[in-house]
């Protein structure tokens, strides 16, 4: 909870606390055991998913006799009995009670343990409802972040649709796609496309399938055969849909062969054993590795290198980029891989979205510069206003 939130919380908390104290004025205090708390309050956390109350209490008298605290809660429905929330060490003054129902108020009782562990008289709070709010406050910075990125992307898509020319820098790896497919056609050898080893619930695999759509279209136009062994059944399905549609749009639906796009196994290294064997026997002329790869990236690219194929790789797994960079002819690094589908499509909308990504990058860079300046000033003048400003700025960005 950022500093700003808890400040506001205290003010409201104070109001509820004073009301509950007044209601319980008459509680008699038995001096023999450890003194009960003098003031206790339960506050519903604002703007949260509900079910959470922050309980805090104060002991005005001499706290030495207290060895611990017992926190209990009771739902405001008849027949409900006290349920222990937690037991805390003597120094504790605050606890968060979770998993409370949204529709009934709860009463919280704080009781102190004496030396020999016997309980003193507890002090209860007024019934407080831990209701679920409409929107989760803590996620506001995230919501704003997504809004900013989306606006950048949408603005540039619209400007591209309005006809303004979009210039995107050359990405060598993607320009090499055409001559890689061409080389495979000349040599009469197949193209191998691997869309990573993760399932369709991974965005890299989805991006890999979109790139497959373009590569398959080029392959259909050149009349080259494209093989797509997959490591998940769903990926096989998605790949077949994409390749079939690409062959359709290239007017070559007759030469589309679904058996070339086949499920091998879910096991990472069983899949790689099959693909390495196939590479060495079929000797594909061009290999594409587009998607989420783990340790097997180097096995594929080294085997591909040993048979002299052109290899173009693209992944968002930063751990595997060193191996692709070392063993492949071209590598798309992180964001370049996600830009591949739009770059290859040459459609104005998609090129516009790339420019939108750049705009969002500029904003991120600006935010970093501001943050760094604030941090430097805060470090140089620790007692000035900058540390608070830095913490505030970090709070705005959600951490």
């Amino acid at each position: 909870m950022s500093a700003r939130g808890s400040l506001w919380q205290r003010i409201v908390g104070g109001l509820i606390g004073t009301l509950s104290l007044a209601a319980l004025g008459g509680v008699s205090v038995s001096a023999s055991a450890a003194p009960p708390p003098d003031f206790v309050e339960a506050i519903d956390v604002p703007w949260d998913a509900g079910g959470v109350l922050i309980v805090s209490w104060r002991v005005d008298g001499d706290p030495s006799a207290i060895t611990g605290w017992l926190i209990e809660r009771r739902e405001e429905i008849d027949g409900a009995k006290w349920v222990t929330v937690s037991e805390l060490p003597a120094a504790a003054r605050e606890v968060t009670a979770t998993k409370l129902s949204h529709d009934h108020a709860h009463r919280i009782r704080v009781t102190a343990f004496g030396e020999s562990g016997q309980l003193s008289k507890g002090l209860e709070t007024a019934p407080t409802l831990a209701h679920a709010n409409f929107f989760i406050g803590a996620k506001l910075p995230l919501f704003v972040g997504i809004l900013v990125v989306s606006t950048c992307v949408i603005v540039f898509i619209l400007s591209a649709r309005a006809g303004r020319p979009i210039k995107i820098r050359r990405i060598a790896a993607l320009d090499a796609v055409d001559n890689a497919v061409g080389r495979a056609t000349e040599m009469g050898r197949p193209i191998l496309f691997i869309a990573g080893i993760q399932d369709m619930d991974n965005i890299s695999t989805v991006a890999g399938i979109t790139v497959l759509g373009h590569v398959a279209k080029t392959a259909a136009e050149y009349d080259a055969t494209i093989e797509v062994p997959t490591s998940r059944s769903l990926v096989m399905e998605a790949a077949r849909e994409t390749v079939q549609a690409s062959y359709l749009s290239a007017g070559r639906s007759d030469s589309y062969n679904p058996d070339l796009i086949r499920y091998i196994t879910d096991e990472q290294f069983g899949f790689v054993a099959y693909v390495s064997g196939r590479m060495v026997r079929e000797k594909p002329a061009a290999c594409f590795y587009m998607g989420c790869f783990f340790a097997e990236s180097l096995i594929l690219s080294e085997t591909g290198n040993s048979i002299g194929a052109i290899q173009i790789a693209g992944t968002a797994e930063s751990t595997q980029l060193p191996f692709f960079v070392a063993a492949c002819d071209y590598t798309l690094i992180g964001e370049e891989f996600f830009a591949a589908s739009s770059y290859l499509s040459r459609e104005p909308d998609q090129m516009g979205s790339l420019k939108g990504q750049d705009a969002a990058k500029l904003i991120t860079a600006a935010a970093i510069v501001i943050g760094v300046v604030l941090a430097t000033l805060a470090s140089l003048a620790p007692d000035g206003a900058f540390p608070a400003a830095l913490t505030w700025f970090k709070g705005v960005l959600g951490s």
Binding site: M1, T98, Q268, F269, C292, F294, Q320
Partner: protein, 308 residues
Amino acid sequence: MDGYGGIQVSGFVRFLESLDRRWIYLAMAIAVAGPIIYIGLTGKTLPETATPAAQAVFDAIEELPSGGHVLFSFDFDPASGGELIPMATSIVRQCAARGHKMVFIALWPLGAQLVDETIKRVITADYPHMKEGVDYINFGYQAGNEAVMKVMLTDFAKAFPNSSNGTPTTQIPVVHGVTRASDFPLLVTISAGYPGAKEWIQYVVSSSGGRIKMVTGCTGVQTPQLYPYYPTQLTGMLGAIKGAAEYESIVNDAICKAHPGTTTPAKYLEAQRRMGPQLGAHLLMVVLIILGNIAFFAQKRAAAGAKS
């Protein structure tokens, strides 16, 4: 006079250029097999100097008051057991020596079996007084990757309704009073990829507001990716077999100091034994990089000679 336009290229360089990659494979096989057989026969291992990241893992477990709850997540499979099993063995050993309550889960299907093997190798063998269900429990594998983590944030019992052998979570004493992930002061993830340490940091540690301290043992390939999180979100980190060997030597020294006169059983020297072939292989890699560049420069000089 052959080769590059009249310049005599030494036989050695020509051998390097046309070197068939299979000679490199053979060299690597010897660089690894040699030390294994030597150490296997003589039993001598190389000393280890501890880096701060490995020491931080030891300290995090040592500082936790005895009997504290430790949540273990085995997110790997036997394929990367070579690096990670020695880590799991030594961390469980330190926790057992400290008398911590250990709760095991696995987000990789094959992790559940690895938990059982580790329990059999460490707890049942050397700490028989610890009872299943009272001092430790294995909740086995739960499908769903990050979704399981998100559920654990609010309700541990919902994510793991029953232990791996079928006992409902409500009837297991060791997790009595544990309602959510943040009730575990220390989280130990042994991770080989996805889902793993990164997801634990993203979904559990960062949203627990610092209430959960996390240490991780990870494969060499993941170490660079996790360094940005150390030491802020990640208290301690064991990187690859070297981290395992460093941590293993710290734990073995501590336990030998606590019980003078006892020798460390062989199963707790596995990582340090494996450091032998590491030295052989790493030296070979360094030599290969040097040879590769010798061949490259000789070729470049020869080509330059031919041009002038």
